[in-house]
């Protein structure tokens, strides 16, 4: 074990009043990432053996799930309750809600199936804000180049360009649905939007509702779904498998109704998969900031049906997860804190990185401090300090105005941010890669669309703060529009699970185990076993 500096010692090393010095031994960005970021090490990837990405790299834990057996059999289909609709949306976060509302507004009959309840998602947890280049000193081009550069030039240029160009209209759409944004001045007309700076951006571009932007967004979207004619909600009905036609196209999905403990078979002209991310896989033992349902289900379902994916070995570790107290470990301290001027300090009381560098760089820098013995240990937890003392001293109201959530969190951690810094450590935050899509969210499987965190290609290998909330609304709306266009199309056949049969043969040929079953649906500590509880 690497040595650490004790919490008490580290507190003593804090220099009262004076600005903390910056360490002089900063590494070049690529060096830092290659040596300390969890994505770049030897344990970070294996080659997939079967499926559309065979031969391509993937995180080993995720590979185990992608190359797994289905949860269901033909027998389960026989007893399932049949339903039919125009559009089936799977997942009730921001992307799913935006897709459902958009498709229904265009006259489609929509079913939205969710695992928990609509809104219980990563979206509702977002704090910092959403990017849109609205400032006079800003432009779509700058937003585009920042996003591309932030993702190490690996993002799809056309998708990025489309998304940043959608951004102003996305904000308008949200306002028309009744979402509030903070203004720079307090006047009814003629005011401009309050804009914050994010790590890795060249202009202030984060629009927000205080520091609980996702809550404001999700409660508005949830109400919009609930009040929109033409949408039926199936809560507590996770998708356990997709349905396919004989030509391999998507025909709907099989849900498991947790209340009735039985299967539901939903045939649909188009399926929008919006199941979000995978933080609850706790890759490489990291804690996570994600909600309870983030178990990579959508990736598993889409991959089995043949969808192509990208960047499955690329994840975002948010620099500032709570490290102490232990029962809050992994919980997020929003980038808003650093954006407002909070500093990161090691056990010697030194700064060691420009806090507003892209997230992967800042996270790697923290991991480096901990690996090189300058981390701080407290009750068996390790991390570095996030120091907001000067910030609060300069603006005593800030915890009631701009950093409300930070104040709440400090109370839960049992510390006073005026007196004491937070102990933080990187937390598994975002799935950079995912299902490859075109500008409408269409995947390589006909009839299957994707939107939101489940999709990939936009953020390259690192996402900027505020670009996820933009992504989910921009692509959620587009996928909803495209799905509604399938309205007039004739529905051929009933749909079945021939793709599962083909998949099982492929598993056997590759000598992969047949007893690993996915999607997971819930983390292991949820103690849920479909086979134990299914009525069948």
């Amino acid at each position: 074990m690497t040595s650490m500096i004790s919490h008490a010692q580290a507190l003593q090393a804090l220099r009262p009043g004076a600005d903390a010095p910056m360490r002089a031994d900063g590494l070049a960005v690529n060096d830092l990432l290659e040596r300390f970021h969890p994505d770049y090490g030897a344990k970070a990837r294996v080659s997939l053996r079967i499926g559309a990405n065979a031969g391509a790299p993937c995180h080993p834990a995720l590979a185990g799930l992608l190359e797994s057996n289905a949860l269901i059999d033909d027998l389960d289909l026989a007893g399932a309750e049949p339903l039919a609709t125009d559009v089936l949306v799977i997942g009730g976060g921001g992307a799913g809600a935006a897709a459902a509302v958009t498709a229904a507004m265009r006259g489609a009959r929509v079913i939205i199936a969710t695992k928990l309840r609509i809104g219980d998602s990563n979206t509702v947890m977002a704090e910092g804000g959403i990017q849109a280049a609205v400032g006079a000193d800003d432009s779509l081009q700058r937003h585009y180049e920042d996003t591309l550069r932030g993702g190490h030039n690996e993002g799809d240029r056309a998708l990025i360009a489309q998304m940043v160009s959608d951004a102003p209209e996305v904000i308008r759409w949200l306002i028309d649905l009744g979402m509030a944004f903070d203004l720079a001045e307090d006047k009814a007309l003629g005011s401009t939007l309050l804009r914050k700076k994010a790590g890795g951006t060249t202009a202030s571009r984060i629009l927000c509702h205080r520091d609980f932007t996702g809550l404001e967004m999700m409660r508005v979207l949830r109400e919009a779904v609930e009040l929109q004619r033409g949408i039926e909600q199936l809560n507590r009905c996770p998708a356990v498998e997709l349905l396919s036609h004989d030509d391999g196209s998507c025909a709907g999905a099989i849900l498991y109704d947790l209340e009735r403990r039985s299967f539901v078979l939903v045939r649909a002209r188009a399926v929008v998969l919006a199941t979000g991310g995978s933080g609850r896989l706790h890759l490489q033992g990291f804690p996570t900031s994600n909600h309870y349902g983030a178990t990579a289900d959508g990736l598993v379902l889409a991959y089995r049906l043949g969808a192509r994916m990208c960047d499955l070995d690329s994840f975002q570790y948010h620099p500032t997860g709570v490290a102490h107290p232990r029962h809050l470990a992994g919980g997020l301290i929003s980038e808003s804190a650093r954006s407002a001027g909070a500093h990161l300090l090691n056990g010697l009381g030194e700064r060691f990185v420009d806090e507003l560098k892209p997230r992967d760089v800042v996270a790697a820098a923290i991991l480096r401090e901990c690996a090189e013995g300058r981390g701080i240990a407290r009750d068996g937890q390790t991390g570095v300090f996030l120091d907001a003392r000067a910030l609060v001293a300069a603006d005593p109201d800030i915890l009631e105005t701009r950093l409300v959530s930070l104040g709440h969190l400090a109370a839960k951690c049992g510390l006073d941010p005026r007196q004491e810094p937070f102990l933080v450590y990187p937390t598994l935050h975002y799935q950079n890669g995912g299902v490859m899509i075109d500008g409408d969210g269409a995947t390589s499987v006909p009839g299957l669309l994707c939107a939101g965190e489940v999709s990939g290609g936009i953020h390259g290998r690192n996402r900027l703060m505020g670009n996820a909330l933009l992504d989910i609304i921009s692509f959620g709306r587009r996928a909803g529009t495209r799905a509604a266009e399938s309205l007039g199309q004739r529905q051929a056949g009933r749909g079945g699970i021939n793709h599962v049969h083909r998949w099982r043969r492929a598993l056997a040929q590759a000598e992969l185990p047949a007893d690993v079953r996915a999607p997971l649906l819930y983390p292991s500590y949820g103690n849920f076993h479909l086979r134990r509880t299914a009525a069948a």
Binding site: N30, Y40, R117, L148, H152, G178, M179, L183, N527
Partner: protein, 227 residues
């Protein structure tokens, strides 16, 4: 973490570490957890609503299980999302005339005027919001004050469950908040940018930055052979 705390959750006797939340204690006890959970600690999704009676106390309070630490002798039961028989339907697009706002509130939420001031909603709110006053502000037309009351509402629906008049205070609050944004939020910088994008005056050139000038990405380790 020396002593262990004993409590009852949904009829289960549970022994837990004193530092954990009710929700964590429940999951760690081996119970199946597929409902009444979402953000799991942030306290923003409202799904872990529960009734708690503390040891030696007669009063039951409604709290969020992910934000409340276990205490010895607690009795806890989770409460599902409450959906009343009557839900208030409206279409925000009908609200284009802000002069009609008062009438709209009355038309969509007619029960709000019948508030009995029983404070049931105030007691129910796990976020400690002054819900009742939010209802009164809405009825009186103090729109800004009403919107402010519900600013931190997590839509757990406990006030709706508590209200004997089916006012659905949180949905009334959200209606007011949505109306304010949809009718009055007109940021001038956004308007200007929308115009520039619509006219084609501003767009993205995807050939920039040129690939050659872009900096090289960091190198990844080769895929591992074994898993």
């Amino acid at each position: 973490m020396s002593e262990t705390v004993h409590l009852t959750i949904d009829g289960r006797e549970i022994a837990a570490d004193p530092t954990v939340s009710i929700l964590q204690a429940y999951a760690q006890s081996g119970a199946e957890l597929t409902a009444n959970v979402g953000c799991m600690g942030q306290g923003v999704c409202g799904s872990c609503r529960c009734m708690v009676r503390k040891d030696g106390e007669r009063q039951v309070s409604t709290l969020l299980a992910c934000e409340t630490r276990v205490e010895p002798g607690m009795q806890v039961s989770f409460i599902d999302y409450f959906l009343p028989a009557h839900v208030h339907h409206y279409d925000l697009k009908d609200l284009h005339d802000s002069w009609g706002m008062l009438d709209q509130i009355r038309a969509v939420f007619p029960e709000a005027e019948h508030c009995r001031h029983c404070s049931g909603c105030d007691r129910a709110c796990p976020k400690g919001l002054p819900v009742q006053s939010g209802v009164a502000f809405s009825v009186a037309g103090d729109i800004a004050a009403a919107a402010a009351v519900f600013d931190q509402c997590v839509m757990c629906n406990l006030c709706t469950l508590a209200c004997p008049e089916n006012i659905r205070p949180n949905h009334l609050g959200l209606f007011v908040r949505r109306s304010v944004a949809a009718l009055t939020l007109r940021p001038i910088d956004l308007m200007r940018r929308l115009r520039e994008v619509a006219s084609g005056e501003m767009s993205v050139n995807v050939t920039l930055p040129r690939v050659e000038t872009a900096t090289a990405a960091p190198r990844l380790a080769a895929p591992a052979q074994d898993r």
